[in-house]
């Protein structure tokens, strides 16, 4: 291709171009197929922070031009056959139009076609943190290759399309989102398993933001989005969603993924989710969960929803009182691998009885002398909650205490779990706000 670089074409205008070959045979452009990012290794690379800024698939190249020949057969012509793109004549000059291969439309089902799949589709604009419509697509000519550069989400793009470029040409391109910051979803979680054609930059956002963005999507798209994420991030994202949305999306995931997410979720959240499933499904998931998670969830699910036990988490870090600070630190290295709530460490008489003696903050444990006994630095005056008290009253107590969490004990002061301030706020917040309540500590 001999044309100059840097020109920008709007898809809405480009699709009105004709293909013209050396013998002056003509065909109307039908659609453009872009390259897809195929392998998972590349996807994994892009989710890391060290990924290069200019990736091959940040702006995927157009690989094929689709058109109908004189016999109305769909043909796919490779882009390398293109000699030039003539904007004024509205022509794409190609060497030989007959070089286009007759293609079955079904064989294109897994490919990404710009007009069929992307134009007008719901997309996630990660830079502006919004879900919006692709009103037009902008393609840039770089070294003879046409690349998908950006999405125009503005009203001007609609005017441009309706007036065939007469008004609001590229000057109307006000709301442009760079394609590398766009996550394009198809609405099918199975596609996400196949792994092709996704930017996956969504995985660089914190889970709360992903959950907020996914709330703007239809639930099938949100399930697809969750499938794109690494499992730990997907579990955190699921936790940040409203209970109704959680259930809606969870039921769209395949069972293996659902099980994996339940394993990774904080026990209180996982218990709430299981509690909302149909009993038969809940039973199936509980039976397939690994032993420690299963036992934790069953323990939480035994408490009614209106009690403290119903809102507590039982995945907490605790240490016996008769050890030194140095020993405590060494033990915590192992405990923290799996614990959900780690900001306060509870000191118990012994790990068998788990009778609560006091509490130590992470800061105290870090700044204290190695040889100091744990019981010397702990605060022995701990406010506690009873597992069967009212959840609402307990939630107000936790919030007014300004603590990250308050421990939950049985009658014999056995440590059963903690109610974090997050869970407390979510408990008493109005229904329309509880889903947005921050979840920092669990």
């Amino acid at each position: 291709m001999t044309s100059s670089s840097g020109r920008i074409f709007a898809l809405s205008l480009l699709r009105r171009f004709h293909l013209v070959d050396a013998q002056n045979r003509r065909a109307r452009l039908f659609d453009l197929k872009i390259a897809q990012q195929e392998d998972a290794d590349n996807s994994a690379l892009k989710t890391t922070q060290s990924a290069t800024s200019e990736d091959e698939f940040d702006h995927p190249p157009v690989t094929h031009i689709l058109f109908h020949d004189a016999e109305k057969k769909l043909r796919a012509l490779e882009w390398k056959e293109v000699e030039s793109v003539e904007r004024k004549a509205k022509e794409i000059r190609v060497r030989d139009i007959e070089a286009g291969v007759v293609t079955n439309p079904e064989s294109l089902a897994k490919d990404v076609l710009l007009e069929r799949d992307v134009l007008d589709a719901m997309i996630l604009d990660l830079e502006n943190r919004r879900a919006t419509r692709a009103n037009d697509l902008l393609l840039k000519e770089i070294d003879g290759q046409l690349r998908l550069e950006a999405v125009d989400t503005g009203f001007g793009a609609i005017i441009r399309r309706l007036t065939r470029g007469k008004y609001m040409g590229l000057r109307g391109a006000q709301h442009i989102s760079d394609w590398k910051h766009v996550e394009f979803l198809r609405g099918d979680a199975a596609d996400a398993h196949a792994g092709a054609g996704y930017n996956r930059r969504i995985a660089r956002l914190p889970p709360g933001e992903i959950a907020t963005l996914s709330n703007l999507l239809p639930y099938l798209h949100a399930a697809e989005l969750l499938t794109l994420l690494p499992d730990p991030l997907a579990a955190d994202t699921l936790e940040a969603m409203s209970p109704e949305r959680q259930l809606q999306i969870f039921e769209e995931l395949d069972e293996a993924q659902g099980l994996q997410l339940l394993t990774l979720m904080a026990p209180d959240n996982a218990a709430d989710l299981i509690g909302r499933l149909q009993p038969q499904n809940a039973k199936r998931f509980l039976e397939r969960l690994p032993q420690p998670q299963r036992d934790r969830l069953i323990e939480l699910l035994r408490y009614p929803e209106t009690t403290v036990g119903g809102i507590m988490t039982n995945d907490v870090a605790f240490l016996p009182e008769n050890i030194t600070v140095a020993e405590a630190r060494a033990r915590l290295r192992e405990v923290f691998q799996s614990s959900d709530f780690v900001y306060l460490i509870y000191v118990v008489a012994d790990t068998e009885s788990r009778r609560l003696r006091g509490v130590v903050s992470l800061r105290q444990l870090v700044v204290s002398d190695d040889n100091c006994a744990l019981k010397q630095i702990m605060d022995p005056y701990v406010s506690t909650l009873h597992a069967l008290s009212s959840a609402n009253e307990a939630a107000y107590r936790v919030i007014s205490s300004h603590l990250a969490a308050m421990p939950v004990v049985g009658d014999d002061r056995r440590l059963l779990g903690v109610v974090t301030v997050d869970a407390a706020v979510a408990q008493v917040a109005p229904a329309t706000w509880s889903a947005q309540a921050p979840r920092v500590f669990t």
Binding site: T132, P304, T307, G310
Partner: protein, 448 residues
Amino acid sequence: MSESRTDVTNTSPLTLPPDVSKAAGASGLEPLTSDEIRSVTNRPITRSHSVRMSVRGRSVRLRGMRRQPTGLMRLLLILGPGLVAASAGNDAGGIATYASAGAKYGYDLIWVMIIVTVSLAVVQEMCARLGAATGRGLLDLIRERFGIGWALFAVTVILLANFGLVVSEFVGVGAAVELFGVNKYFVIPLAALVLWYLVIFSSYDKVEKIFLSMTLVFFAYPIAAFMAHPKLGAVARGAFIPTIRSDPDYLFILVGLLGTTITPYMQLFQQSSLVEKGVARRHYGAERVDTYVGVVFSNLMSIFMIIATAATLYVSGSRDIDTAADAAKALEPVAGHAAQALFGVGLLGASLLAGAVLPLATAYAISEVFGAPKGVNLDFRRARFLHDLHCAHRARRRSRADSESSGRQTSALGASPKRRAAARYTCLHNAAHQRQTLDGRTRQHAHI
């Protein structure tokens, strides 16, 4: 302190209490008895949402698992968008058409309502199914399947039609309150304000409950119909023996009945509200029941309107009925003040319900076409576009067109249009990059 409380709290979290383990081996999902629920805690738990189940041989009782209610309670819990959408179709214009049909042609047109019930059920159910299967509104799907051109055409028609309809609903409210001697200039703004407040500041669940309770006013029509002492034989004949006349007025009313019973905003609201309610395809069965119940209820009420006017106005010869208020006024000398009052209450409720649903359906539609966040649950910050549209539609003002001043701004960037376009594009890119850099502190986790 009760013994049962000690029982639970003294037990190791990973060990089951004795009363639970003795039931090990049971394989079913048996609901807890009320005695068992009370025994868990030291205070009565009113919600018995728990069942006993066997997990890997251990019998445990777990909270949260809902037992499905049965009978009438189950039906009442199922009712939602389907009933609201169908009932909203019986608006002021609809009541006028049904009253006119009854007053002019007696029971002769009831058969049309039976046929149109089937058509409406098919259309409404299809929309409900689309909503549950895709999680998307009707205009959302039109935009993706048929493109922006058809979507804009559809939304423009909807906007114009609904604009007129909203006006007619508030005219209906005014006419209804005037029947009771209340000043319409006071009630209409008040009604608009209350409905606006409801949609803007309430959650979807609350709005749905209020809409559902508003459908109760339609029971005024069967009572009015029975008070008019219709001839049951004539009603049955009108319902099951189709009559076709070449009279242009007859055909006009027949078409009017079809048009007023199947109106686009019913489909828009049905699908979008179902999506907002969060109905997934796996739980669609209940929504289908809701849809069918809604359609049958709404058209049954329409039939009662026809019967009420046929048994009174048609018989007495008062056949010039143009509005629902005319029908109510004409009813008084024939069927008494109570019948008129019931008709008026029905008109008020129907107009208010349609007046609430219409702007919402319109706002849903426009938001879907332009990809803006939508939802009654979202506040102004998160769904500004939807709420702006809703307010604008309710205030019956035309929303201001988006001012596009980009041409003037970019004209300074270069002489040739192509260069201007390229410069504009580069400029936007740079601006986006700068915004991202400046905003780095708040987006430090994003690394985009």
